[in-house]
């Protein structure tokens, strides 16, 4: 109990000294990102944090208690903004860990008895470690949120179904096909088939980097589902290497029409729907 009050007392009395030292320390640290954050902003954040810290430490150093909630909330706020600005985990955590030096300095000056000094330093260091770890966890959490959100956006963005012509849809696939994406692709395609009444859909895999058995299986599933809805599928954009891989893997694509380019696939689709493409007379004479 006594130790705790001592730390609290010191922090309270030496507030300005600690703040100055701390800001100084942070400004001189190698992890400072002047390109991402202004000095005034850092000073403001440090001041506010120290204020909340001083208040919380008066009633104990267990950060699980409700009295520490404002401190944690504030750290959450700082961490979120730093994650968005592109700080690395260690740069974010330095905010807390850099407080050690100035705190130790004032404690060393205030406490004379070596035993008390060690005890006080120990309390302080565990407290700051806990806060530092908390910041790291928050940082990680925020980063994961960003990744998760981007994944979802990517999923939506990467599966457009475009109508090329009356009754003809195209599905340009870009990136690797996994089960989750196949599901989205399939749903989108089938939905669009219902909406547009398309008879032929062209699946273009020019943007699919590799085709392994799993990807091929996903493709065949999509084709089968579209066929059940009454739409024929053509797979186009098969690069030479992919053709080789498909044969080496023993994937059977014999039941699906395949074309090397989207243009070829489009021509055959036009043919099947009974449409023809002709050059206008003007162009002919020019050519």
């Amino acid at each position: 109990m006594e130790k705790r009050t001592k730390l609290a007392e010191i922090v309270k009395n030496q507030h300005d000294v600690i703040l100055n030292d701390w800001v100084e320390f942070q400004l001189n640290a190698t992890t400072l990102r002047r390109d991402l954050m202004k000095e005034s902003e850092l000073r403001e954040q440090s001041r506010e944090f120290l204020g909340l810290f001083t208040q919380a430490v008066q009633s104990g150093s267990d950060i699980g208690e409700t009295i520490w909630k404002p401190v944690k909330d504030f750290l959450g706020q700082i961490t979120r903004s730093r994650v968005l600005l592109g700080f690395t985990p260690s740069e974010t955590a330095t905010f807390i860990f850099s407080l050690k030096q100035p705190l130790f300095d004032v404690i060393r000056a205030a406490v004379k008895d070596p035993k008390d000094l060690v005890a006080d330093l120990w309390t302080t260091t565990t407290l700051l470690d806990k806060l530092g770890l908390y910041v790291m966890e928050l940082h990680q959490q925020n980063r994961e949120e960003v990744i998760h959100r981007q994944q979802e956006e990517l999923l939506e963005l990467s599966t457009p179904v475009v109508q090329l012509f009356e009754n003809i849809l195209a599905l340009p696939l870009i990136g690797t096909l996994d089960s989750a994406r196949t599901q989205v692709v399939m749903e989108n395609l089938l939905q669009r088939i219902v909406e547009t009444g398309a008879m032929i859909s062209i699946i273009d895999i020019t943007g699919v980097p590799t085709v392994d058995t799993l990807v091929a299986q996903h493709l065949l599933k999509t084709v089968a589902a579209a066929r059940l809805m009454g739409a024929d599928c053509i797979i186009s954009g098969i690069r030479p290497q992919i053709a080789q891989t498909i044969v080496h893997l023993g994937v059977d694509l014999s039941e699906v029409t395949t074309k090397a380019t989207l243009a070829d696939a489009f021509m055959i689709a036009l043919q099947r729907t009974g449409a023809t493409v002709t050059k206008s007379a003007a162009t002919k004479t020019k050519g």
């Binding site: 599901q183 399939m186 749903e187 089938l190 939905q191 088939i193 219902v194 009444g197 008879m199 599933k221 089968a224 589902a225 579209a226 066929r227 059940l228 809805m229 009454g230 739409a231």
Partner: protein
């Protein structure tokens, strides 16, 4: 007992599944339809499943079976109006109904049937001539 109606439209039979199929109903349909194909000398069968929302492996297999039986009885079969969710379910169940003709809606199905039958007539004509 509940039955799925089978309507005669010219040379075609139209089966519209308006309720969720349970196993008994599917078996009854199989009996009724094969009987009607023979009795009416139908050349084509349209099975409209646009109201069918839930399928399991049994119903999926029954749809495939009914289509195959109709073909044995010399009637072209087209399954029309399958919902996206049903299509995905069937594919995931591994029942992609090979050999069954499909169309988006009844209109398209009728067109497809007419096309098939004409083709067949021409083919027969060739052989005869």
């Amino acid at each position: 007992m509940e039955r799925i109606p089978i309507l005669k439209m010219g040379r075609f039979l139209l089966v519209t599944v308006q309720v969720d199929m349970h196993d008994r109903l599917a078996m009854t349909l199989q009996d009724d339809l094969t009987g009607r194909i023979v009795k009416d000398r139908a050349h084509g069968v349209l099975i409209d499943i646009s109201s069918l929302e839930i399928v399991d492996s049994f119903i999926g297999r029954m749809i495939g079976n009914i289509a195959s039986m109709a073909r044995v009885l010399d009637a072209e079969t087209v399954v029309v109006g399958m919902r996206p969710a049903v299509a995905i379910t069937l594919v995931e169940l591994g029942l992609s109904l090979p050999g069954v003709r499909t169309a988006l809606n009844v209109d398209r199905g009728v067109e497809l049937l007419k096309g098939c039958i004409e083709e067949r007539a021409q083919g027969n004509g060739h052989v005869a001539g």
